[in-house]
């Protein structure tokens, strides 16, 4: 990938951008369209600057927080407007009421072809009652259907005519078309919100796509356990994706005070929006959802703190001048992470030009600190 001085370098830790498509009110076509087009511009710039991934979530009905209900459409646009960045479908909700597995296989294969083999397939089961209830999903079933999806998708991609008789769906012998460019299929991941899901990922040979903010100690524990477990995995196919990423925020500015003021506004807004989601556990008592998602305070009695509390800033946040961000990333890198994905904005609190400038500064001043010098020409 391009780097300063024209060297061809590889990084140990990779960087991605992560789209929620959070959208400010009022939800007019102009506002919603601007969010989408701003994201496409960010993806094109990320491609030019040497970021490794662009991920788009799948969420439904989550007013303000995420209007990314058709990520495969967004990513098709990204695929045709970029040349080298990997396309992260992160993640497809693997419950049949939302996505039939055959349709998932078809859409992903098409995206892989359109992107000339750059697709990464994230899988998930949804965490909010807003979404599960909206589609009439039984929360007790989502882990089972996710597990079934991740086992059957590789077959639908790799095999010819296939029949299937399973728990959440069955189909007679059919050839699912098209087939992906990457053989036998694109790398597969699992979004990890709840502690323990990283083990589900490892046991199946899937990448661990962290979407919840864990502190350094917790992330180190999860990462070590993931890498230990994946050595003994029973993979869902011959492709083992041995990756652990975490989610962070990015706002980089030469002036640390400006960065803090602007960036922390974004972080606080995201935290507020996130805490206002209705997590499944709050609405529907079940063993299947043991924790609230992402960054939300717990509903349970352990967190009956002051309602005046502001959103707690997560550890190792990448908001600051380049030196601050390098220091934070070095610490994350030392934990063994293979990648870090960044939220760049939230409900457009940061003007688009500032977001793009933050990305440029990051690429110019921060990325070079994470080159793998052993791969540099002449090293």
């Amino acid at each position: 990938m391009p780097a300063r001085g024209g060297l061809v370098t590889l990084r140990v830790v990779k960087f991605g951008i992560f789209f929620e498509m959070s959208t400010p009110r009022p939800f007019t076509p102009e506002v919603e369209g601007a969010v989408l087009h701003n994201a496409l511009a960010q993806a094109r710039l990320a491609d030019e600057l040497g970021f490794d991934w662009v991920w788009a979530v799948e969420h439904h009905f989550l007013e303000e927080y995420s209007h990314c209900s058709a990520p495969e459409v967004v990513l098709a646009a990204v695929a045709t407007q970029t040349e080298r960045i990997r396309i992260g479908h992160g993640a497809v909700v693997c419950v049949p009421e939302m996505n039939h597995p055959v349709r998932v296989a078809e859409r992903c294969a098409t995206l892989d072809l359109l992107s000339h083999g750059r697709l990464e397939v994230g899988t998930a089961r949804s965490s909010t009652w807003t979404e599960l209830g909206g589609f009439g999903v039984d929360p007790d079933q989502t882990k089972k259907t996710w597990d079934e999806f991740v086992h059957v998708l590789p077959k639908l991609w790799a095999d010819g005519a296939t029949s299937y008789d399973g728990h959440s769906f069955s189909m007679p012998e059919r050839n699912v078309l098209p087939k992906p460019l990457q053989k036998p299929h694109p790398p597969m991941w699992v979004t990890v919100t709840s502690p323990g899901t990283e083990l589900d990922a490892a046991d199946r040979g899937l990448g661990c796509l962290g979407v919840a903010a864990a502190g350094y100690a917790e992330q180190e524990r999860r990462t070590q356990e993931y890498f230990r477990r994946i050595e003994q995995c029973d993979p869902v196919s011959s492709v083992v994706t041995k990756e652990v990423t975490t989610l962070n925020f990015l706002y980089c500015h030469e002036d640390a005070a400006v960065a803090a003021k602007t960036g922390m506004g974004m972080v606080g807004t995201f935290g507020l929006a996130n805490s206002h989601l209705m997590w499944t556990r709050e609405a529907y008592p079940t063993r299947a959802y043991q924790s609230l998602g992402n960054l939300a305070p717990k509903t349970d009695r352990s967190a009956t703190g002051s309602p005046g509390d502001r959103f707690g800033i997560p550890e190792g946040i990448c908001v600051g001048d380049p030196d601050i961000i390098v220091a934070a990333l070095k610490r994350w890198e030392a934990l063994g992470l293979t990648g870090i994905n960044f939220l760049l904005n939230c409900v457009e609190t940061i003007p688009q030009e500032q977001v793009l400038e933050s990305m440029r500064l990051f690429a110019r001043e921060v990325m070079p600190h994470f080159r793998d010098s052993s791969n540099e020409a002449g090293a």
Partner: protein
């Protein structure tokens, strides 16, 4: 984020009066707690809350019923209707109607924790496969709802969001944060049925329309009402409107 648009005055006629916030913890051993959750109409999501609170998406309401065989005021049963919301970042249930079948308990719950408690009839009938809650005020049935087919859960599987009451206080109208701990020794999930509910007679805001049931749970254990720590100005977002009771 959306916030409420109701005038605080709309809630004050039924509000309890608290002389102070110097409340001690109160343990209620052997309590049964029935919790039923319902989605409500989007049309009422902002109009049913004061400006200091944020609605949930989807808007929702919880009916919670307690049967407490032991208390400082003797055996009592309580039923309350709460509009689910957020106070700042925190999940909360804003109590808009509360009926208690023991006059002494009603007075104490109002004076010490701000519950808008009225005396009435509350019958929580827990059967093998059918739990039935009936609430009557002045002879009129305001709620009749069933929950069926219990299945066992882990004791930590039921989430209870913290209660908010709105009371007349020496500082003026305040949302009172009522922290309740339930040390649960048995929990079940049930299927909630569509309720027969008289919204306004129960004390809920007139703009609330129940759409459909989501879930029900029945828990048993020791319920403890904790000392008060925080109150909030009802017409101001919690980030600036929160006050410590010890201030």
């Amino acid at each position: 984020m959306l916030s409420g648009t109701a005038s605080v005055d709309e809630f004050m006629p039924d509000a309890a009066t608290m002389a102070d916030f110097a409340t001690q913890a109160c343990a209620l051993p052997g309590a049964q707690v029935l919790q039923l959750m319902f989605e409500t109409a989007v049309s009422g999501r902002q109009t049913s809350l004061p400006a200091g609170l944020h609605p949930t998406n989807p808007p929702s309401m919880v009916v919670q019923a307690w049967h407490c065989p032991e208390s400082p005021w003797g055996e009592f049963s309580l039923a309350m209707a709460r509009v689910q919301c957020r106070s700042g970042l925190r999940p909360r249930g804003f109590v808009q109607g509360c009926v208690v079948d023991n006059a002494d308990a009603a007075i104490a719950l109002g004076a010490r924790w701000g519950f808008p408690a009225r005396v009435g009839t509350v019958v929580l009938d827990v059967g093998y496969h059918d739990t039935h809650l009936v609430v009557e005020v002045e002879g009129a049935r305001v709620l009749d709802v069933r929950a069926l087919d219990p299945i066992p859960l882990g004791n930590e599987d039921v989430a209870f969001s913290t209660t908010l009451t709105l009371a007349h206080t020496p500082r003026g109208p305040r949302l009172v944060q009522v922290d309740t701990d339930l040390v649960c020794d048995r929990a079940e999930r049930l299927v909630a049925c569509t309720p027969a509910l008289d919204i306004e007679a129960f004390g809920l805001h007139r703009s609330i329309v129940v759409r459909h049931p989501v879930s029900a749970s029945l828990s048993r254990g020791t319920l403890t009402l904790q000392p008060l720590r925080y109150v909030c100005r009802p017409d101001e977002l919690a980030f600036t409107g929160t006050e410590s009771t010890s201030d």
